[in-house]
Symmetry: C2
Subunit: 374 residues, 2 copies
């Protein structure tokens, strides 16, 4: 197997590390944040906007693209990269999480997850093999195995049953991938609910299947922050050092900082893009809501320290006006700002790890957020 991940530098105090992830379409510096392009579009941005912000990999959702416009159509049109005009890396999820969270009447069977489309009610059975087939049609660079979603809270026996079912699905996913889709990378997903022994058990089983990388699934589903970190630690301790680790669907800058400290390399989350469309903007002094009347006359940029296109060119007053008037441009300007914030934040994390002062960076980040008010 060709080298797919290389650790560059480790933090001496924490488990944080920087590295390089190699896909068919380029090299990705880790820890990395992947903007979400659910329906073959990072909402409101062109691919040039996204790469101009520094993103080298985005995430697309298998569930959404399977239902509309369909992976077969995308395959006929040359795959997802060609379809959406994004030549860099794409990671696709398995569709599992959306089947559980968006679809109607989802039922877990041994063979797969039976569900009704949230768009038109049509029934489907998403099997590990179908998920691999869809992702192959999309021609993504990193593909995820199909897993189950363990609810929170969930009794021990049920969590165990679903974790073991996930293991069987992942083995089937791996077989399906080996037959046809070896051009991409394939990541396994560890589960285990909120039980430390199940977390360790799952991580060991999944590691034995030898994937290119490992996701930690089923976290940030409503559990307390401390419990999430404990489960994350238990999972990561059993994962191989030399492979990339991906914390799916997480999260806030705070979550990311804590997860990086525990050895996570990859993140995706809708927060920066969704918040942008709702007028909530990230700054070096915390979040602000651009809707507030206090910004009506405010000629300052969102964040005077920010160098993004939006902050270099537009005032809070203008953004507030666009938002109140329902002008489409505001979604793009806000999204550019929030993604810039996230991607810069990751870059600063990487640089802090490289220079050996990640602990100070973390401390400074928390202090800074407390002290400034806008």
């Amino acid at each position: 197997m060709a080298r797919i991940f290389q650790i560059e530098k480790k933090c001496p105090q924490t488990k944080a590390r920087t590295g390089f992830l190699f896909t068919r379409r380029g090299i990705i510096e880790t820890p990395v944040f992947m903007p979400v392009g659910t329906q073959a579009s990072v909402k409101s941005l062109t691919p040039e906007d996204v790469s101009g912000l520094g993103a080298r990999i985005i995430l697309a959702n298998t569930y959404h693209l399977f239902l509309r416009p369909g992976h077969e159509l995308i395959a006929r049109l040359g795959g997802l990269h060609c379809f959406m005009n994004w030549p860099r890396s794409i990671l696709t999820d398995s569709g599992g999480f959306q089947v559980f969270s968006l679809a109607k009447l989802c039922k877990i069977e041994e063979d797969g997850a039976r569900f009704q489309s949230h768009l038109n009610g049509q029934e489907y059975l998403l099997t590990p093999e179908l998920s691999m087939e869809i992702q192959a049609g999309l021609d993504s660079d990193i593909r995820m195995v199909l897993d189950t979603c363990i609810p929170y809270p969930c009794p021990y026996e049920e969590a165990k049953r679903l974790t073991e079912l996930t293991h069987r699905w992942e083995e089937r996913s791996r077989l399906a991938w080996q037959k046809n889709h070896r051009e991409s990378l394939l990541f396994g997903i560890t589960q285990g609910g909120m039980f430390e022994d199940l977390r360790r058990y799952s991580a060991k089983v999944i590691t034995s299947l030898d994937f290119h990388g490992y996701a930690i699934g089923g976290l940030s589903v409503g559990e307390p922050h401390d419990l999430m970190l404990k489960m994350l630690e238990a999972s990561i301790e059993e994962l191989p050092e030399g492979k990339p680790r991906y914390l799916m669907g997480v999260g806030t800058p705070h979550d990311i900082l804590e997860a990086v400290s525990r050895g996570v390399d990859m993140f995706d989350c809708v927060l920066p893009t969704r918040n942008a469309r709702r007028g909530t903007l990230y700054t070096s002094f915390g979040k602000i809501s651009i809707k507030q009347a206090r910004y009506k006359d405010d000629d300052r940029p969102i964040d005077p320290e920010c160098q993004c296109y939006t902050c270099r060119n537009y005032s809070r007053a203008y953004l507030r006006h666009l938002f109140m008037a329902g002008e489409l441009l505001v979604y793009r300007l806000n999204t550019i700002h929030n993604l810039h914030f996230y991607l810069c934040f990751m870059e600063r994390i990487r640089n802090a790890i490289r220079k050996g002062h990640f602990e100070e960076f973390k401390k400074h980040y928390y202090e800074r957020k407390e002290e400034v008010e806008c």
Copy 2:
């Protein structure tokens, strides 16, 4: 008075001409199409998108900006150019047309137009002086006098009364402009309803007030196309040759071609931008609706002859997918295409006039539209 308009070339067969319009913020080649930026934003585009498409002047709406966020706020923030980050020319209308078409309970009085805001019902009296004051707050480069809007159909006596009231308002507008706002250009507006003698009368009176340019108002309000052209001809015949002529709110490519033939130099219209957001796209072979199922699998660009960013990078299938999925990006991609179409169309008109074959261009345009089907 400094030179503000220079005719470059006249068509030997028609009344079409090319020219240069000089504002404080640059030189504009005419005939020109001005994209509409109603609420201080050309919907879905950044100023860089708009200037990248070749636009050197846009229109903003006095009525909308007066109500939200208010001209005083914009003035405090440095004027509209600074507020919206558009350094090139801006033409503002007088607010009159929107008062008549959007506001509630509009009542015309000698002093001005009394109306209730369509946003919150608050009552205002828009006088010629207030319109000038708002436009001065916005600091636009070309300002329009307040006129009345003559409905269609309208009896002769009523059309005459409103035309004469317009003349009195325009004289007051001119006085208000002379006192405080001489840094901008001021355009008069001719009215006259659908009566040829009133059209000629109005054009003569307005010409005697000596504005920098002349708009032909009250057309394209529901009357038959031929009647519009007849009224346009009557108005223009009485306007001075050496001043720019502006046909407000018009129109389709066909309308523009016919109006240019009759000596019009300036146009604005929401059609390309509004149609873009509704999925209706202009092509060299007529309009298409990207929503149609026939484009589901279509890997061709909107218009294979088009060189716009959208056509160079995206298929009809992708645009249709974005449209059906409600993805924000499609509004921008469609708007770029439609504005490119309009602005290129104007450039081709100008070049045809310059090269002395505008008549052939027109003929070819009509033939082409008939013959191709997609």
